[in-house]
């Protein structure tokens, strides 16, 4: 505008340089990963909701001993209820229901960390969506049984 000619030329040059950047990008390949067609690699440490893993000694049953530490430690009270019963011939209890309200979870991982029997782990369920709130109230024990059946 009221600048000197050299500044004016410099300004025009900067504008052209900007145009150069975008036109270069125009001809570069896209970086998009097309979600339903392509999936990104989900890292194994990705924190989704938790799942119960099998007991180390007995893969038939889940490893949760229903001690309730996770219930106490959960910052947002997402783990509603953990119940277990002692089966015959076993020293510890085994969970029969583990109610997780995923909609209040903050995915911090404190439950996984503090679990004394290492029965909890993160699932890789990264693309949850549903029509109801209640879709995300999980019973982890039931899901564990389901998984056992399918695998």
């Amino acid at each position: 505008m009221t600048a000197s000619p050299s500044a004016f030329i410099k300004g025009a040059g900067s504008l052209i340089a900007g145009l150069g950047v975008t036109i270069k990008a125009f001809f570069q390949p896209v970086v998009t990963s097309q979600y339903p067609r392509q999936l990104l690699n989900i890292s194994p440490r990705f924190r989704s909701h938790t799942k119960l893993v099998a007991d180390r000694d007995n893969p038939e049953k889940n490893g949760c001993i229903a001690c309730g530490i996770c219930v106490r430690n959960c910052p947002s009270g997402s783990i509603k209820k953990v119940e277990g019963e002692k089966r015959e011939g076993e020293k510890r209890k085994t969970a029969t229901s583990y109610l997780l309200d995923f909609t209040t979870c903050s995915q911090c991982g404190i439950c996984v960390e503090t679990c004394p029997s290492a029965a909890l782990d993160f699932s890789a369920d990264f693309n949850l969506a549903g029509f109801k709130r209640e879709d995300f109230h999980f019973d982890l024990v039931k899901e564990f049984e389901k998984r056992k059946k399918t695998s």
Partner: protein
Amino acid sequence: MVERIKAELGATLKETPVGEADYRERGYHLFAEVASADLLNVARFFDERGFYLAALICVDYKEYLELVYIFSNHASLCKVKITLKIDPAKPVAPTISTVFDCAYWHEREIREFFGVSFDGHPNMTYLFLHEGIDFYPLRKEKIPVSDEDKKALGAFRPGEGEDTFFVNLGPQHPSTHGVLRVVLKMDGEYIEDAQPVLGYLHRMHEKMAENRSYLQFLPNTGRMDYLGPMAFNLGYVTAVERLCGIPVPDRANYVRVILTELNRLSSHLMWLGAYLADLGALTPFLFVFDDREEINDILEPVTGSRLTYCYFRFGGLYNDVDDAFVAGTRAFIERLRSRFSLYEKLVGGNVIFTNRTRGIGVITKERARKQAVSGPVLRGAGIPMDIRKSEPCAAYGEMDFDVPVGTRGDALDMYQVRIREMENALNIIEQALARLPEGPIMTEKAPRKLKPPKGDLYHTVETPRGELGIYIVSDESDKPYRMKWRVPSFSNLMIFPELAKGNLLADAVAILGSLDLVIPEIDR
């Protein structure tokens, strides 16, 4: 410095003694309790000596309410805690907003959360809360808000008065980066007055802190500043470690530095994109997100999440980094270095951009001190103050980096400071990667249940947006008695009204962008 201040403060106060505290345990050097008559004198005392009001905190000790003023200095490390006891039945205190402008906002905050009214404060109305709340939330007992108080608090009504033209910037507005609301009083396209209204995302973090154990509060830190959660994690974790005296292994410290700096990069990149989007250019926004995704690709395998990280633990880390992380970070450093030239071409050198940002929102050093701005905004104003240098936590003390400062203090300086900070962050990451020691990532001495000793602590760290101060009062239980977060965006926002005054609406948007605000952090 500390000695001198102690002597001079002692001379000013006369009656009350000035105590010396263990800085490594408490986070401040001196403390004194003053009477409310003396408070203004003390404020002036610190004002004359170039101190700024770092934080103003209220603690409810049931028998009495205590106002805590933390004064700090840009030039040298000297922090002073001044306390003032007030009667909970009739909570009144003198205002110091006449001396330190930033107290204007802090006092309003305390007014609505504790019911302490400040004598001589010009505008004691709701800042965060809305009128539906009928008790003072942060008081330990449920004290109802009387009808008179409610009326007084809700007196602020934008839109009243004749011949005025108000524009509400927000709460839903593309340029406020969330749910900030700024009520602008306009004269044509010029702004006569700007009045931020906060609290649209007040998520009660401080109240939650009193209800949760130290560990349980950890996820919250990542949600206060969602762009720089690592720095908030770091601040909180180191604060609690300092309070309990938990040692941290070297490797953990280095990893903390690397991750925090990576997060700083992603935060600054996000700022760059959002700022340019404010100025009308959308393409840089998408370019920076490419880089952010690269950072996420590095951080996600380590931390397990993409945004609200919750990775540091008291005494160490959640899990270890691997070689893939190191290689990925190295590759990313190379990539980002080459991207800087692209940004320079697309943004920094662009004549439209420089003309739009040069000379607007000029912050002088004096105003920066009075309003207690921090971080890149402070450095843009020309004050070389970086808490990573002055009070290094984790392994920052061993890193070699410079503190970029601006010369003019305008929005363009903020841009340049942040760009150079990004380059610095790359250097820091490189150094830390080169020296990354082997060893455990978790200390063995971490107690299972944290019960810090009685006392208080004011701990600061440098987040991407500036000085984060965490004030914790512990009463030996496993829950903090009171936790106050002195957040950078809040104090940075406070300078906005005077920057916006007399400027165009478009400039106001540019200034607001240059402050790099994160709203949940302001609202807490």
